[in-house]
Structures are given as structure tokens and as C-alpha cells.
């Protein structure tokens, strides 16, 4: 009798666990060994004893975790022995240092994608397709209405919006996630201007990490170091959590914009109350999800995040074995 081979990754109360390697991927509870796909809050959590992650992401992890944890950076593509498995990290194209986790055990290969995108991004290494038997993919934007335009075109729109607001004598407050999206926008904007941009404290410290990692971006000025700054005509980058708070008052009359894949849908934009929505996402859109899952040549696809149920059913109806995993990752973008 042939029994089905043991899975290389299972969902436990602590998170995604690899039994033969005795480690977790992006655990949501403190564990002994955590392999981390990237530094976003829902993937990198406090309290584990040891963190293994891709070298370009080490600065972000240290910044977020503080100095007291053991952080083991590993170069992309280098194999590390964990338990009886061989583990390597491969660029996911999501943010600086983001990685897919490739797990090999007794001739079988599983890949955990973490968050990823296929669009070019000047702030991080491009996604590297990795063939595997089982592919655990994110599915944040897994509906066919999510199809993202080319980033330079959208960034040009942002620049035009900023200039139009300047003409009206008001500030432009652009909300972007502090880690990844902000730096990507600051980097892409170089095609249109050399002017400095004001940044919120949360954006400022992470932008510093990116600069030290050698990423080129527009010059930035932290908000709040000088008293009585005149923000008219300025561009300010802030995390979405700052929207509508008293912190915004210092900018006087201003227009607001939000950079996110969710801005693809008009109702989402209007409900969140921003003047403008800019469709820039650090996740894969519908065509990219299909293409990536297919290109992995996996016999089985497991899905996390967002619209995983829809993508699961879509694959199953096309004769591709797929199922959804219950995880506690967010839908931020």
C-alpha cells in the first residue's frame, strides 16, 4: 500500500509549519525558528527566538524587531540545512528583501511565495520563477477585475496631480504603506523630478534603511523637524493610518491620494474618502497570479490571503488541484 507523502508545510495554530525542517514560515505566534518571507507586519511578528531571512531584508527586520533577536541573513539562492530539509530563498519582487521560501525534502519541492508581484520595481530584486511540486501562493487580488496598469504611467499621474495641487497653492498628501510602497514611489518619481519630498516619521526611518541598502530615491525631509514649515505646493508621503488624524492639520489646505491595488475599484476609493486613488500594488494582479501559478508547474496550488476561495475554485474547475489555507495574513496594500 502506498500512503500519500507527508506534506512539507501544514497550517498550525502558530502558523505555516514545516515538520521535517522543524521551522515556521511567517508564524503569527512566537516560535523557535522563523523563516521570514518579508518585513510587513502580518508576516514578520515579534517574539520568535531566531529569524532566517534574505540578506537585503536584514536591515528592515532589525529596524522592526529591535536589536535583541537573532537575525540570520541568507543570500538569495543559497541552500541552508534545516532539520532534514534544504531551504533556499528566492526573490519575490514584493518589497526590499522579500523572498519565496523553497523547501526541498527527499526529492520533493514546496515553495511558499509570501507576497509577490511581477511588475518591475526599482527598489527590489525581480520575482524569480521557481519550479516546484506544491506552490503556496498569495491571492490578495485574485479576482479578474484586478488588473494593474504599468507603474510609470501611474507615477506620472501622481506627479501631474502634485503639480496641479501646487498650482492651486495647496499641499498633496499621498498615503502609501510606510514599508515598500513609499520607497517604490519615491524611486519611480525620479523619472519626473529631483525635488525633495516630505515624509512621515514611519516612512522616514524605513526610507533610511532603503538608502543604506543602496536604493536610489528622491531626497526626503522628515515632517516636523522645523517649526512652521510652509507646506503649500509640497508632496507629503504618509502611512494610511495618518489619514484624518490631527497630525494632518499642519499641512493646511491639502488634497489626498492613496496608492493601492484596492484603488482599482471606484467604490473602494470613494468609501475610503480619498480625493484620488492611484492603482499601484505590491501584489500580483489576476493575470499575474494565474501565470505565476501555472509557470511553477506545481501539481498542487495552495492559496492564502484575500480572494483565495475564488482562485481555488477557478483552478479546480480547470482541472488544477488547488485548495485554500486558513492563515491570518492581512489584505494591506
Amino acid at each position: 500500500m502506498i500512503s500519500a507523502p507527508e506534506p512539507l508545510v501544514v497550517v498550525t495554530a502558530n502558523g505555516l509549519y514545516c515538520p521535517p525542517g522543524d521551522f515556521y514560515v511567517d508564524p503569527w505566534q512566537p516560535v523557535q525558528t522563523a523563516v521570514i518571507t518579508h518585513g510587513h507586519g502580518d508576516h514578520l511578528r515579534h517574539g520568535s527566538a531566531r529569524y532566517i531571512l534574505a540578506r537585503p531584508g536584514a536591515g528592515i527586520a532589525r529596524q522592526r524587531l529591535g536589536g535583541d533577536r537573532e537575525v540570520t541573513p541568507v543570500d538569495y539562492g543559497t541552500r541552508v540545512q534545516l532539520g532534514t530539509t534544504s531551504v533556499s530563498l528566492h526573490p519575490a519582487g514584493h518589497i526590499l528583501g522579500s523572498a519565496q521560501v523553497r523547501i526541498e525534502h527527499e526529492g520533493r519541492v514546496w515553495v511558499v511565495s509570501g507576497d509577490y508581484k511581477r511588475q518591475p520595481d526599482p527598489t527590489c530584486a525581480a520575482f524569480e520563477p521557481v519550479e516546484c511540486d506544491v506552490f503556496i501562493s498569495e491571492a490578495t487580488f485574485a479576482l479578474p477585475v484586478y488588473r494593474f496598469p504599468e507603474t510609470p504611467r501611474v507615477v506620472e499621474e501622481i506627479h501631474r496631480w502634485w503639480m496641479a495641487n501646487r498650482e492651486r497653492g495647496i499641499a498633496s498628501a499621498l498615503f502609501c504603506y510606510a514599508l515598500g510602497k513609499s520607497q517604490r514611489v519615491l524611486s519611480e518619481l525620479r523619472a519626473f523630478t529631483h525635488e525633495p519630498v516630505y515624509v512621515h516619521g514611519a516612512v522616514d526611518s524605513l526610507t533610511g534603511v532603503y538608502r543604506r541598502a543602496g536604493v536610489s530615491m528622491l531626497p526626503t525631509l522628515p515632517v516636523g523637524t522645523e517649526k512652521k514649515t510652509d507646506f503649500r505646493g509640497a508632496l507629503i508621503l504618509a502611512p494610511p493610518s495618518a489619514a484624518g488624524t490631527p497630525w494632518m492639520r499642519r499641512f493646511g489646505d491639502h488634497a489626498t491620494g492613496f496608492c493601492s491595488g484596492w484603488m482599482r475599484v471606484r467604490g473602494d476609493r470613494r468609501r475610503r474618502g480619498y480625493d484620488r486613488g492611484f492603482v499601484i500594488s505590491d501584489h500580483a494582479d489576476w493575470p499575474a497570479l494565474i501565470e505565476t501559478c501555472t509557470a511553477s508547474r506545481a501539481k498542487k496550488i495552495l492559496l492564502t490571503h484575500g480572494y483565495s476561495d475564488a482562485l481555488t475554485r477557478y483552478f479546480n474547475e480547470r482541472g488544477v488541484e488547488a485548495s485554500a489555507l486558513q492563515t491570518s495574513y492581512g489584505a494591506e496594500d
Binding site: L143, P144, V145, V265, G267, R271, R276, Y307, A310, Y314
Partner: protein, 543 residues
């Protein structure tokens, strides 16, 4: 249509009124006369009747999207709007090379959409699918909105008027007057708007209504009472009565010509001299007293005006103001002068044509006291109008105030929720509330306004997690959430299970502090109804 879709986008993505006006001005200045006329038509809130039902569009979308129906449904529920879902899904099928040259908005409507009414389903299908395949996202969205008769643009009529006034180099009042009522958009119409001596000859042309703003400040800040005209705020239909060239016309606030609905008022108006325009209120009136609005509504609802209903619910026009006399526009005169002329004019008017009497009071305290009697008098409060004020356009703050009484309110329990319309259709925003009767909750009100976006999002989440049963789009929810609801009036109704109908119910706040058991009862509401009825039957509010 490209320029129009860009205008739509600009209007949709700013809250600045100046930017909205500037965008419209830019559009009108560069559009062809026919396009400008159609844009003015759409922007001023007029709508083309729908060309295609949603269900046909849905079927064709499934057919061309190359996606399973459930996935299109899933997409639609994330987007919440069919026109947008089509545009988003079709963008994927759009070959860059297929993008066709832009056609003017007027050509789209006149040469493509209007002829759709003359052809069968199959021809409609072929045409529409072809357009979907070739139009870029934004234009595809506008096309679908036009097809379904749902194209609404986020600008007020006042802003459109401002933009048109700037483009046409006309006074705003003049613009408002010219675009009121029914008209057919065409190049000729636009040229007529532009030529200064346009069709002023239409005897039915009304003046735009001047609207009062709600008074929030202490009335004492308005200065001496002797500078103000105080009137009751009548609960009827605001109307304009026009007597010109031997004919009578009655316009309601909604800009509908309603002359035929009120034969007794028309008969009375025949006694007026020619070249007169009155602003006033149509009210149900019997035995010297105003009757509940519900009575008036009942009469308006009748398809045919039988002698019985005319007898049962007599209507009276209560004049507020005199806008035109001897064919001369009096609106620039101070109110005290217009009022004196109005009183002289209506001195011998027949019964169905009265005047809204001035309330004399020597102090604000005295007026405040009178205001507390509003409910007993079946009026909505007081109107305060500066005696020096000209008759303005739209809502200009400062000279006319409505000093309304606080609304009635009650605590109800949420029973059902359903998705809203348009941009809110992916959220549960329309709710049904009930009150207790014999240990059971009976529905008494539907309300969909009054909550902030954050509260709505919060409630939407709660509703999805606490659904007990689904009936199509309607969800029955756990009966635990209490809301304070305000309403303007109450009437007996045999059409409602509860036996009562509330007027303008709206949500005041969510009572997270209140358990469902402490919500109001049907007998509480019946008591309000009984008091309301008793008072309006026996008192004379005109005294």
C-alpha cells in the same frame, strides 16, 4: 466621448467646488455645441431613459468575458456596480490595436444609443459587445451608465449653473431660468443659450426658487425682530403659480409642471391680473385649517381626480411672495415692498388662493414660544425672512432661514439590511427597523441615511457576521442592534403591517448602549399618531 469621460473623472476625483467648475468650463469651452448641450443636459441631473436592462447586459457580459458566471458574480459583488464591472472585466480583453478613434458625445447618443431603441435584442447585443471590445475603461464605464440610464455626476445644479454662466457670459439667474423644465439637447439649443435674447417668450417659464437655510444660531443674533418677516413653515408642496397671457401654470419644486393636478387653484388664479408670478405652498386645507401632508400625498397619488377626492382633500395655494407683476421681474425689490404688493393683490382673492400670514411678535422669546406650538398647528416650524432681502436664487445663506422644530424620534431595532444603490451597492446601507408589539418586532421604518462612512463600514461587517437568513439581496439580522430614528410626521396606513407610516425616517445614532428589549413599542408610536390627529383636526393654525 473621451473628453466627457475625462470630465466625469475630474468631477469624480475632487471635492473642490472651484476645480469642478473649472473642469466644466474647460469642457464647455472646447466641446462642439451639440456635445455641450448634451453635457449640460446630463450634468444638470437630467437622465436619458435606460436603453438596456441590467439583466441583458449581465447575460452578454457572461458571454464575452470568457469567465465562469460565479466568478463574474464574485467580481460584481466586490465592485458593486454593473457598469464598472463590465468596464473592468472588458479591459482585459481589449487589444491595444483595437482602440478606435474617438466619437463626439452627441454622436454616441444620437447616432448610436437612440437608434438602439428601434432594433431587436440581437442587434443590440452585437452593437454593444463590439463597443465593449473597443472602448477603453473610462469610456466603457460611461457608455454602460448611459445604457442603463444611471449616469449621475457628482455636481450640484448650482455648480453647473456657475460653470454655464461663466461660459455663456450670462447671469446665473438667467442660466437657471433657461435650463429649467424640459428641453431637448441639440446644437440649436446650445446656440440659443448663447444668444442673449433667447426664448424669453415662453409664458410658462418659471423663476428658480429661493431656498432658506436651516437656522442653527441663536435667532437673537439676527438683530431686531422688526427687520424680519416670520411665517409658519407650511408642510405642503413648494410651488410657483404663473399667470401669463390668460393662462395659468403651476410648477412644483421638483420642476414639474403640475397645473392639471390642482383645478381649484387654477380656477382661483383666473381672477388674478395677467403677468403675475407667485411663490407659495400647495397645502391640503379644510375648514380653515391645514391638513396632514399624508392627505395631500393621497390626492397626488390618484391617477384620476374624481369629484369625490376633490371634495375630500381640497387644496389651497398659500402665497409667500410676488415675483412678477405687470410682466415685470420684481425679485430685486426688498421683501417689504414685494410683500405689500402681494397683500394688495390678494386682498380679494378667492378661497383657494390665500396668503401665508405674517406672524406678529415683538421679541424672539415670543417667536420661540410660538414655535413650540408648531406641532399642534401641523406646521414644521417658522420661516424667518429679512424684510430687506431680494428674492435670490438657490440657497444663499444669510437672508432666509428655516427655524424648524426638532423632529420626532424613537428607538427601533434593526431587522433587515440590504445593499444600497450606485456606489454604495457593495455595502449594506439600507435598513429596516422595528418596534415591539405583543412580544414581537414589527417593521415600522426603512432608513438609509444618517450614519458616517466609518459607522456604515462597521455596521456592514456586523451585518455580514450576524445574518440569520437571506432573502435575495435582503439579509435578516439578529435582533440586537438599537438605533435612534428621527421622523417628520406620522400617519395611519393600511398598507403597512404596523398600521402606521412615518415620514422621512432617518438614523440619528446607533444606540450601542441600549439592549433591544428597551426599544420603543408600537403603542408609543400610536400615541404620537393619536395626539397628532387630534390636534390637526380641531385647531386653526392660521390664527
Amino acid at each position: 466621448m473621451r473628453a466627457f469621460s475625462e470630465l466625469y473623472e475630474e468631477l469624480d476625483t475632487t471635492t473642490s467646488t472651484n476645480l469642478k467648475v473649472a473642469a466644466m468650463v474647460r469642457y464647455f469651452n472646447t466641446a462642439t455645441p451639440a456635445d455641450a448641450a448634451w453635457a449640460a443636459y446630463i450634468l444638470s441631473g437630467r437622465r436619458l431613459k435606460r436603453f438596456i436592462g441590467q439583466s441583458l447586459l449581465w447575460r452578454w457580459l457572461i458571454e464575452v468575458s470568457d469567465l465562469p458566471e460565479w466568478l463574474v458574480e464574485e467580481s460584481y459583488s466586490a465592485v458593486g456596480d454593473l457598469a464598472e464591472t463590465v468596464a473592468l472585466l472588458m479591459e482585459g480583453n481589449l487589444a491595444a490595436a483595437a482602440v478606435v478613434p474617438d466619437l463626439p458625445l452627441s454622436t454616441w447618443i444620437e447616432a448610436r444609443l437612440l437608434p438602439l431603441r428601434e432594433v431587436d435584442d440581437e442587434q443590440q447585443r452585437v452593437a454593444i459587445i463590439e463597443w465593449w471590445r473597443t472602448l477603453p475603461y473610462r469610456e466603457c464605464f460611461i457608455l454602460n451608465k448611459l445604457l442603463t440610464g444611471e449616469l449621475r455626476v457628482g455636481v450640484s445644479e448650482l455648480l453647473v449653473t456657475r460653470a454655464l454662466a461663466e461660459v455663456l457670459k450670462l447671469e446665473r439667474n438667467d442660466v437657471t431660468r433657461r435650463i429649467m423644465g424640459e428641453w431637448r439637447p441639440s446644437a440649436e439649443f446650445w446656440e440659443n443659450l448663447r444668444s442673449s435674447e433667447a426664448s424669453a417668450s415662453d409664458p410658462s417659464a418659471p423663476y428658480p426658487f429661493f431656498l432658506a437655510s436651516p437656522l442653527e444660531a441663536d435667532p437673537a443674533t439676527l438683530g431686531p425682530t422688526s427687520d424680519w418677516l416670520a411665517e409658519w413653515k407650511w408642510d405642503g408642496i413648494r410651488s410657483e403659480l404663473i399667470r401669463r397671457e390668460g393662462k395659468c401654470f403651476i410648477w412644483s419644486r421638483g420642476e414639474d409642471l403640475v397645473t392639471e393636478r390642482f383645478p381649484e387653484v387654477v380656477a382661483a388664479a383666473a381672477q388674478l391680473p395677467d403677468g403675475v408670478v407667485l411663490d407659495g405652498e400647495l397645502v391640503a386645507w379644510r375648514d380653515g385649517a391645514i391638513q396632514p401632508f399624508a392627505d395631500l400625498q393621497q390626492r397626488i397619488g390618484r391617477k384620476k381626480l374624481s369629484p369625490a377626492i376633490l371634495k375630500e382633500v381640497p387644496v389651497r395655494f398659500l402665497a409667500y411672495d410676488l415675483l412678477e407683476q405687470d410682466y415685470t421681474d420684481l425679485r430685486a425689490l426688498p421683501l417689504r415692498e414685494r410683500r405689500a404688493r402681494l397683500e394688495a393683490l390678494s386682498a380679494n382673492a378667492p378661497d383657494s388662493l390665500g396668503i401665508s400670514s405674517a406672524i406678529t411678535a415683538s421679541s424672539w422669546e415670543q417667536l420661540a414660544n410660538l414655535r413650540t406650538e408648531s406641532r399642534a398647528r401641523a406646521v414644521e416650524g417658522l420661516m424667518l425672512k429679512s424684510l430687506d432681502s431680494p428674492y435670490g436664487t438657490g440657497r444663499q445663506r444669510g437672508s432666509w432661514w428655516k427655524w424648524k422644530i426638532d423632529p420626532y424620534s424613537f428607538d427601533g431595532v434593526m431587522l433587515y439590511a440590504q445593499p444600497g444603490h450606485g456606489r454604495r451597492s457593495n455595502l449594506y446601507t439600507d435598513y429596516t427597523f422595528g418596534v415591539w408589539s405583543n412580544g414581537e418586532l414589527v417593521p415600522v421604518a426603512k432608513a438609509y441615511s444618517g450614519l458616517s462612512n466609518v459607522e456604515i463600514a462597521d455596521l456592514d461587517r456586523w451585518i455580514r457576521l450576524h445574518t440569520t437568513e437571506k432573502f435575495g439581496p435582503v439579509r435578516q439580522v439578529e435582533q440586537t442592534q438599537v438605533f435612534e430614528l428621527a421622523y417628520e410626521g406620522i400617519a395611519a396606513s393600511s398598507r403597512h403591517k404596523s398600521g402606521i407610516a412615518l415620514r422621512f425616517p432617518r438614523i440619528m445614532r446607533r444606540r450601542l448602549d441600549k439592549p433591544a428589549g428597551e426599544a420603543d413599542t408600537l403603542s408609543d408610536l400610536q400615541a404620537v399618531l393619536a395626539a397628532h390627529r387630534g390636534q390637526t383636526r380641531h385647531e386653526d393654525p392660521a390664527s
